[in-house]
Symmetry: C2
Subunit: 326 residues, 2 copies
């Protein structure tokens, strides 16, 4: 049995708890929290431990899954935790991956552990789609589309506008752009061509809808470069119709082969997820199996999904994998 | 530079020749043939060598790509060649993979080489889609659809019917079945539900179309379990409209997550290929890079795509991979 620890019990931590329960070769050892443990109510029967007592659990946890945020939690937590445990995080600030890798690598080697960073679906499965497909079709382009799905960052940005009580923002890929990519014509897009943004907004009493809409659609970085639609809804409608966290997307590589380089080939990977955090957690748990196995083989240091052979993710024996999945 | 050899110069061998030309870190050392080398006309400037002189090329080839057939060539060739070279084959008789693996593993270890078997897109990339997605969503089902594409085996079966001069058979996935799988309802299918078969047939002079059609649609194993459509065309039409070898398909995993196991999640991988052999070759060449690198690290034995970490396929440095593809 692979013994899993969860550091941080939000949407992602709850998803890990559920994903561990689906895997017969795994068990949840403990949940670690910076809150008062008495305030954390796990869905299953598992101890809740103050985060600063994690060191007491060395030897009782094979892989610690870090469920904090990329902005402030993980840059500190991952290097600190990997000195004590094998760890996995879902660090997703793409631009800062190289420095995060360097910090985690040094700490992981010091502790003799594996630190798998930037796991999940993007970065994660979408990264796999990009590396496999670009290696196979070197003469081509790849495109990543996100959605239809809820962007927490964009929803938060709307909530900060005066007059907004609550909001939910969907990122939506543009069908015409997807079709153009699938046709193999390697189009060049500007931001606006690939995605639209749909906002569902609950106003404070007396707020001016026109002013709020204007503030949203002109917001730099978040909305100004997109075609954005704003729908004003009641608090009840938002709760009823927009409470979920669906997401997904598409990675498409189109390239050409042959000595004339005129044969079109298209590789597509896509996700359609009813729950982004539950799916991300399921990816983290499959990779926890890989981390435990590779550590048992003597591997240490910082790793990404690029370093992990697929066989390590699958609970079945390698003979079975070849007979049934190859 | 990784030095590649090609064993067998048919559609697949020609595809490897073209794929090597697209990769700056590879060069084609020689083509090996069982035919008279004078009868083999490569598209590029490369020596053509009798297959039985391959042993003279030890030290001059890093990876030999075996382009023979699974029925009779590869079960002999792969174990024999792997004693001399690192090799890759596209052995695709799924039911015989375990015994092929065992034979190649013993010979590869004897020679100190890597023998990567069953590479390409199915087995190969579709196998990757199956192992990743089933590891991530353990409570679910996966479905493999092929097409729209030309099946050489089915085309050959039609050509053996008396009165048939030439034929081309397309395997076509049923759209309604694809949509049912994508909806996450985990349907149970019989053979007929998932694919149809479309046949384009040129008759010999005086042949009876009704008899030929009846012979096709009732043929056991090949057509009897499918809804099959037969179109009679002229030899000119067949050449003009059906000369290519397109193919592709879909691997879809649908599963549920959450403690209630009621959240639907769908992972889809698909290929849309204008040329099946050119694409398969491109996969083989990317994996040739991986084989050369892993052999340089001291790895030997029989391997499949399940054993190869994605980083080995990509020509770029690992730092670059993390900065640009993760």
């Amino acid at each position: 049995m692979t013994k899993i620890g969860i550091m941080g019990y939000g949407n992602l931590g709850r998803g890990v708890e559920a994903a561990v329960a689906q895997n017969d070769d795994m068990e949840l050892a403990a949940i670690f929290t910076r809150r008062d443990p008495a305030d954390v109510k796990p869905a299953t029967d598992v101890p809740v431990v103050p985060a600063d007592q994690a060191a007491d659990w060395v030897g009782k946890i094979d892989v610690m899954i870090l469920c904090g945020g990329s902005a402030t939690d993980l840059p500190e937590q991952t290097p600190a935790c990997v000195k004590l445990f094998n760890v996995i995080d879902s660090f997703d600030t793409h631009a800062h991956i190289p420095q995060h890798f360097a910090a985690v690598d040094a700490a992981a080697k010091e502790g003799g552990h594996i630190g798998l960073i930037s796991c999940g679906w993007d970065p994660g499965l979408f990264s796999l789609a990009r590396i496999y497909s670009s290696s196979i079709l070197p003469n081509g382009s790849h495109y990543t589309f996100w959605g239809k799905g809820v962007s927490q960052g964009h929803s938060d940005a709307i909530r900060r506008i005066p007059g907004v009580k609550d909001a939910r923002q969907y990122t939506v890929p543009v069908d015409a752009a997807l079709e153009k990519v699938r046709s193999g014509e390697n189009p060049v897009f500007v931001t606006r061509d690939m995605h639209t943004r749909e906002c569902y907004v609950v106003l404070e009493d007396g707020a001016d809808p026109a002013a709020v809409e204007q503030a949203i659609v002109t917001m730099p970085n978040y909305f100004a470069d997109y075609n954005t639609t704003v729908h004003f809804v009641s608090e009840e409608e938002l709760q009823r119709d927009h409470a979920g966290l669906p997401h997904g997307g598409f990675v498409i590589r189109s390239g050409v082969t042959g000595l004339q380089e005129n044969t079109k080939q298209v590789i597509e990977f896509s996700l359609n997820l009813e729950s982004n955090p539950e799916f991300t957690s399921s990816v983290l748990v499959a990779y926890a199996r890989a981390v435990a196995r590779m550590h048992a083989e003597g591997v240490c240091g910082c790793k990404t999904v690029f370093d992990i052979a697929p066989k390590y993710l699958c609970p079945a024996e390698e003979d079975w994998q070849r007979a049934h999945l190859l």
